[in-house]
């Protein structure tokens, strides 16, 4: 079952990314991205990361996508979709170099099966204590400093938005 779901969601996620990079209309790209995010969230569930899946939907699909769409609307971008053209040469170059990197990673994966280091958070243990609890404990204890730094980062983002997007 899980395997099937992985293939289904995986295929959908790839389809979403394809929409993002192939659609000439940014709104369509945004929808594709949204689609991709959703399917990724589903994959997170498959990976026993339910909390992350929720966050993914809330922040990515909710907040970030809205930001994207607002901006697209604000800048009224649909009018000049036609400008979005790339020469075939560029396209071939881009696709080949992209698939080159993909090919390289795949090759690494294919030939050298990794045996990951095994930690203590077995699925059993996680289901015992609860996924969210474990993550929360981790974030607010082990990862307290990154968490605080993230807050600074977000404030910088706000300052940036204020400084740059404000009309003067």
């Amino acid at each position: 079952m899980e395997g099937v779901l992985f293939w289904v969601f995986g295929a959908l996620a790839v389809a979403g990314t394809l929409v993002v990079i192939l659609s000439r209309n940014p709104v369509n790209s945004a929808i594709g991205l949204l689609f991709c995010f959703f399917t990724t969230a589903c994959l997170y569930v498959l990976l026993d990361a339910q909390f992350v899946a929720v966050i993914q939907v809330l922040i990515y699909a909710g907040a970030i996508m809205v930001l994207f769409l607002f901006t697209i609307m604000l800048l009224n971008l649909e009018t000049d979709i036609k400008k979005e053209v790339t020469s075939p040469g560029t396209r071939i170059l881009g696709i080949s170099i992209g698939s080159g990197i993909l090919f390289e990673i795949a090759l690494l994966l294919w030939h050298y099966r990794i045996t990951p280091f095994l930690g203590t958070y077995t699925p059993e243990k996680l289901s015992l204590t609860g996924n969210i609890q474990a993550i929360g404990r981790s974030i607010f204890r082990d990862y307290i400093l990154p968490f605080e730094i993230l807050s600074v980062l977000l404030i910088i983002g706000i300052i940036g938005a204020v400084v740059l997007a404000k009309r003067d």
């Binding site: 560029t90 170099i97 992209g98 080159g100 990197i101 390289e104 990673i105 090759l107 690494l108």
Partner: protein, 643 residues
Amino acid sequence: MLEYIWLIPALPLIGFIINGIIGFRIRKHVVSLVGCGTVFISFLIALMVFREFILLDPEQRFFQKILYTWVSSGSFNASIGFQLDPLSAVMSLVVTGVGFIIHVYSIGYMGHDPGYPRYFAFLNLFMFSMLILILANNFLLLFVGWEAVGLCSYLLIGFWYEKKSAADAGKKAFIVNRVGDFGFIIGVILIFYTFGTVEFKSVFEKLPGMIKAGAVDPFLLTVICLLLFAGATGKSAQIPLYVWLPDAMEGPTPVSALIHAATMVTAGVYMVSRSCIIFAYAPYALDVVAFIGALTALFAASIGLVQNDIKRVLAYSTISQIGYMFLACGVGAFAAGIFHLTTHAFFKALLFLGAGSVMHAIEGETDITKMGGLKEKMPITHITFLIGALAIAGIFPFAGFFSKDAILAGAFERSPYLWFMGISGAMLTSFYMFRVVFLTFYGESRFPHEVSHHIHESPPVMLIPLITLGILSIIGGFIGIPMIEGGNRIGEFLDPVFHNATTILGKAHHEDFLMEVMLILISLIIALGGIYLAVMFYLKKTYLPGYFQEKIPSAYRLIFNKYYVDEIYDYLFVNSIKSFSIWLWEFIDTVIIDGAVNGIAYLTRGIGSIMRRIQTGFVQSYALSIIIGAFVILAYYLFRIRM
């Protein structure tokens, strides 16, 4: 007194310093006084030294005075030191004596020249250098004098530097001399390499022992001698480096008399005689010396036959006469060479001064075809000049007769061919000398009217030197009368110097008396024959020169143009080197070396421009660069792992 021999060269140096630094501020007669006075005192000292010297035993006639160590480096040592032996004693007398006479003559001759103090300064400097040359006790100091006289020659030839030909001639003299000096200095170095010293005394004393011990390669000695002789050919104007001397006549006539006739040009002879022992052990080199000498004697005399410039005729005659001296050295008759050097100093200086006197009278004209009939207007000049001509032609009892005869006798002993060359040269000599005499002093005056009007006898200050030298030319030969026992005083006096060399060369056995008389007679007849021919050509049948000129024009032109040697040299060396240099500069320097460097710079900038073009300003192309970078690094790792 011997202690003070360093004063002999030092005094002219003082004169040079005084005249050189403040000469242009002090009055003319002070300049003359300083110029002549210092030389005169030197002469007096030389005389006194000589007197003291002659009182010593012949074996003890050697004296050395070392002032200080000049160059000392590692095992090499050369000092500023003077040595007195019979050879240098004779030379110093000749140089200071003749030098003084010519100084005095110059007072009159150069009287109206604006560069008067400069002239005397240079002349004094020359005296200093020449005395260093002959009094030096080692090869390096000799070389100092050697070069310094060359410098003075350069300065004095180019005395009238505003005349391009004079400046050119000076430069030519210096450079041609340098070519010879190149050989000389290598020779000196080889001497040091071989003997470990450059001091005359130790070199000459070491040599026989080393030969005996087989410690020295005879070939090396030959090379040394040839190199030294190369220096001599430069300084003494022998084939192939004689070309500068005729041009050197651009200088003032007293300079020609002093430097280019009496003293400096004979330095080569002096040097070869000085090194006679080395030469004695290098018979091949000696043969070369003899052959070059004889060849030069003949060759230069042949050019002298047709030259019209009075000083140039005398110049070629000088070359020719020095050739005789080398011939003497080459055949081992060193004493005869020095003897001829001395007499030649007298009569050649006389001839030059006489020519100068003539030129002085006729406003610098030097072309003998434009002269004539000066006999009446300048009687004393005429007489003295005639004495000089007779002396050089080798007519008994004039000085040249004895010295030339001694040389020819030596040559005959060595090889009849050399003798024959010598005797032919003697014939040519008497012919061309009397050609000059006849064209200048006899016959019709060929001067333009306004010139002949002014012709006058020279002032006493010029005539007295002429007369003095005339007397010397007459009696000078009697210091070396051949055949009579004890007559060859100069030979005996010089014997300590040359003894070893002549012994080695096996010249001990004496000539048969009859043979000697025969030779003397032949040479006398030949000389007289030359005079007779000159009489026929230039007094009796004056059409003859023109006739021959038309009959064999190519030979005439060849000789008249001095066998085109100057032109050949110009073509071979001067021009080709100049164009080669320009090629070096404009091609090697500019195109190849700078081109390579600029090329690299250009290439670098080119690459920079390409990079600038890659920097398109498009974000995507920048991203592409990152992607390619990532791709390559990944590929590197893939490759590495697979290995």
